[in-house]
C-alpha cells in the first residue's frame, strides 16, 4: 500500500458519493438542455422546489432502510406501514366518532409511535424468534395494507386539519425566506465549525490531518450547495403573496432526519454496531455487541420513520386513500441501492442513499417533463436500478 494521505474521520464525501454527485449533476444538465425548448425548464426554481418536495417522503425513509440493509436485513413493509399509520392519523383527525377534533399533533404522535411499535415488533420476530426479515416484513406488507383498508372501511379519509397540512409542503407548508436564511446560516456555521474543530482535535491528539486545501475545497463546495439550495427555495414565489416560498417543511424534515441518521450511523456506538453486525455478525457477537437488541432497534427506527413519512405523505395528499404508499418500499430500496448500499450488508452510507433518492426522483421528474410516457419511465428506472446494482457489485468485488 502506497503512502496515502490519511483522511481522519474519512472525507465528508467518499469517492462513491462524489461519483453520485457527478451523476446527479450530469442528469440535471442533460434534462435542462432537453427542456430548453419548452415552457417549464428542468433547472427552474419551480421545478426544483417541486422536486425537493417529491423526494422528501422517500428521503425520510431511505436512511432507515440503509441501516436495515447494512445490518443484513430487509424491510418490505414500509410502504404499507406508511399507509396504515397515515390512515390512523387521518381517522384520528377527521372521523367524528373516533376522534373528531383531536388536535393534529396528538394524531401525529400516535401515528409515529404506532409505526415505531410495529417496527419493534417485526424486529423482535426477526432477532429473537429467528424468522427471516424478508418473510416477516412481507407479511407486514400484507397485514398493514389490509389493516389500513379495514379501519377506513375502504374509504378515502379526509380532509385533514390545516395545521397538519403544513407537513406536506402545500401553500402554507414552507418556512418563508427569512427562516430559510436562518436555517442555511446555521448549516454554514455548523459545517465550517465541524471541519475546523475536527482539524483542531486531531492536531491536539498528534494525528495526521487532511491537507488544508481538501478541507477548504469541501467546505467551500458544501457552502456553495447550501447557498444554491437557499437561492432556489427563495426564488419560487408564493402565488398570493408573491414572496419567495422558502424551504418546504417536508424537505426540512427530510434533511433533519437524514442528518440525524448520518450522525447516528457515523458518530455513535449504535451506528458502529449496525455496521459491525453487517460486516461480520460473529465478530460482533464475540466482541460483546448486543446483536439482537441492535437488530430490533434498527427495525424500530425504520417503523418510526415510516410513521413520520406517513404523516408527510398524508399531508401532501390532504385526503388519505387506502392504497397510500403502495410499492413505495421498492422505491426506497432502489434509492438505497442506487446510493451505493450493498444488499450483502455492511456497506452503505446515509448521504449516498440521499443522493440515490435524489437521482431516482430527478430521473422520474425529468422524464415526466420531457413527456416520456409512464410505462417508459418505469422501464428506464428499472434499467438504472440494474446498472446501479452491477456497479455496486463491481465496486465491492475488491473486498473478497
Amino acid at each position: 500500500m502506497g503512502e496515502r494521505r490519511e483522511g481522519g474521520e474519512g472525507l465528508i464525501f467518499s469517492i462513491q458519493n462524489v461519483f453520485l454527485l457527478l451523476v446527479l449533476g450530469v442528469l440535471w444538465v442533460a434534462f435542462h438542455l432537453l427542456t430548453l425548448g419548452q415552457a417549464g425548464h428542468f433547472l427552474s426554481p419551480q421545478n426544483l422546489w417541486n422536486l425537493s418536495v417529491q423526494t422528501s417522503v422517500v428521503s425520510i425513509l431511505v436512511g432507515g432502510m440503509v441501516l436495515v440493509i447494512v445490518a443484513r436485513q430487509i424491510d418490505l413493509s414500509v410502504g404499507s406501514l406508511l399507509g396504515f399509520t397515515g390512515m390512523v392519523m387521518a381517522l384520528l383527525q377527521a372521523v367524528p366518532p373516533l376522534g373528531h377534533g383531536w388536535p393534529w399533533p396528538l394524531a401525529l404522535l400516535i401515528g409515529v409511535i404506532l409505526g415505531g411499535g410495529a417496527g419493534l415488533l417485526q424486529g423482535y420476530l426477526v432477532a429473537y424468534l429467528g424468522a427471516p426479515s424478508f418473510i416477516v416484513t412481507m407479511a407486514g406488507l400484507l397485514v398493514f395494507r389490509n389493516a389500513a383498508y379495514l379501519i377506513a372501511e375502504g374509504k378515502t379519509i379526509g380532509p385533514l386539519q390545516e395545521g397538519f397540512l403544513v407537513l406536506g409542503g402545500g401553500l402554507q407548508g414552507a418556512i418563508g425566506p427569512f427562516w430559510s436564511w436562518v436555517v442555511t446560516g446555521l448549516a454554514w456555521v455548523y459545517t465550517l465549525g465541524r471541519v475546523w474543530w475536527g482539524r483542531r482535535s486531531r492536531l491536539q491528539h498528534g494525528l495526521p490531518v487532511r491537507p488544508l486545501w481538501v478541507d477548504a475545497f469541501f467546505s467551500l463546495l458544501l457552502t456553495a450547495i447550501f447557498g444554491g439550495f437557499l437561492w432556489v427555495m427563495n426564488s419560487f414565489p408564493h402565488p398570493t403573496t408573491g414572496q419567495g416560498r422558502g424551504i418546504p417543511v417536508p424537505v426540512l424534515l427530510a434533511i433533519t432526519v437524514l442528518l440525524s441518521l448520518h450522525w447516528l450511523s457515523q458518530r455513535t456506538r449504535f451506528g458502529r454496531y449496525v455496521y459491525a453486525i453487517g460486516g461480520n455478525p460473529e465478530a460482533a457477537m464475540l466482541a460483546g455487541i448486543p446483536v439482537r437488541q441492535v437488530q430490533v432497534l434498527v427495525f424500530g427506527l425504520m417503523g418510526l420513520l415510516a410513521g413520520l413519512a406517513g404523516a408527510v405523505q398524508a399531508a401532501r395528499l390532504a385526503f388519505v386513500p387506502t392504497g397510500m404508499g403502495t410499492l413505495l418500499e421498492l422505491y426506497v430500496i432502489a434509492a438505497a441501492v442506487v446510493g451505493g448500499t450493498s444488499l450483502a450488508g455492511g456497506s452503505g452510507t446515509i448521504l449516498g442513499a440521499a443522493l440515490g433518492a435524489l437521482i431516482m426522483s430527478s430521473l422520474q421528474s425529468g422524464l415526466v417533463l420531457i413527456g416520456v410516457p409512464t410505462e417508459w419511465q418505469n422501464l428506464i428506472l428499472g434499467v438504472v436500478l440494474v446498472l446501479a446494482a452491477v456497479w455496486n457489485a463491481r465496486f465491492h468485488r475488491r473486498r473478497s
Partner: protein
Amino acid sequence: MSLPLLRAENISLRFGGLKALDQVTFDLHAGEVHSLVGHNGAGKSTFIRVLSGVYQPEEGRILVRVGDALREVRFGSPRDAQRYGIETIHQNLALADNLDTVANVFLGRERVRFGTLDEESMESEARRVLERVGARIPVLRVPIHQLSGGQRQSVAIGRALLFQARILIMDEPTAALGPGETARVKDLIRALRGEGLGIVLISHDLHDVLDLSDRITVMKGGRVVGTVRAEESDQEELLSMILTGEKRKGTV
C-alpha cells in the same frame, strides 16, 4: 508454586447429545505459555470459548486470581471475561472487514464523549498499541479488508492488548501467516510472556508448540489426555497422545 492466574475445574458441556467437553481441568500461571493440542473436534476451541465467556459450561467452575486469592467467576458473555483481563484472539480473528483498523481495535468497547464516538482519542490509543505489537499499518482509516493477513493479525492482537490483559488466549494465531510474519508473532508471544502475561495457545504446528510452550495439554474427544512439560516432551510423545488418547510418560 504460586497461585495460578486461572483455573478451570471439571468443565463439561454438551451440544445436543454430543459431549463436547468432559471434565476438563486446566490451569495457567503468570508468565507461562500453556498450549492446547489435539485433532479437530478434540474440544480445544470449545474449551477456550468457555474461558472467554462465549459458552457457559454445564458443570465445573472457573476460578480467576484476584489479588492474592482465587475467585470463582461466571462469564455470561465475552464482556464478563474481558472484565477479568481475559482477552481472546479467535481463529478467524473475528474482525469486521468493512470497518477500519481503529473501529476494529475498539469494537464493543468504544470510547464515547458527549454521546458521540471519541475518534481522536481512540485513534491515538490504537496507534500506541499497534506500535507495541510491532504492526506496520500505514493507514488506520481504511476498511481492513484492504490489509494483508499479517496486518489483520496485528489488528486482532492489538485489540486484545488494548486493555491491561492478564490472560491472552490465542486460537491458531499463525495459521494464515507466511514464515516472516509467523516469526514475528512468535517473538511477540515470548515478549508478552516475559511481561508476565499468561498465554493459552492453540496450534496445529507441534514444532511451534514445543518451541513456545512451558506446558502442553493434549485433548481428545472433549477430554484431557494429559499435560506435559514442553522441555521434557517431544513431537513423538505428543503425536502418540493425540492419536491414542493415552499418556506414556509421567506428567506434571
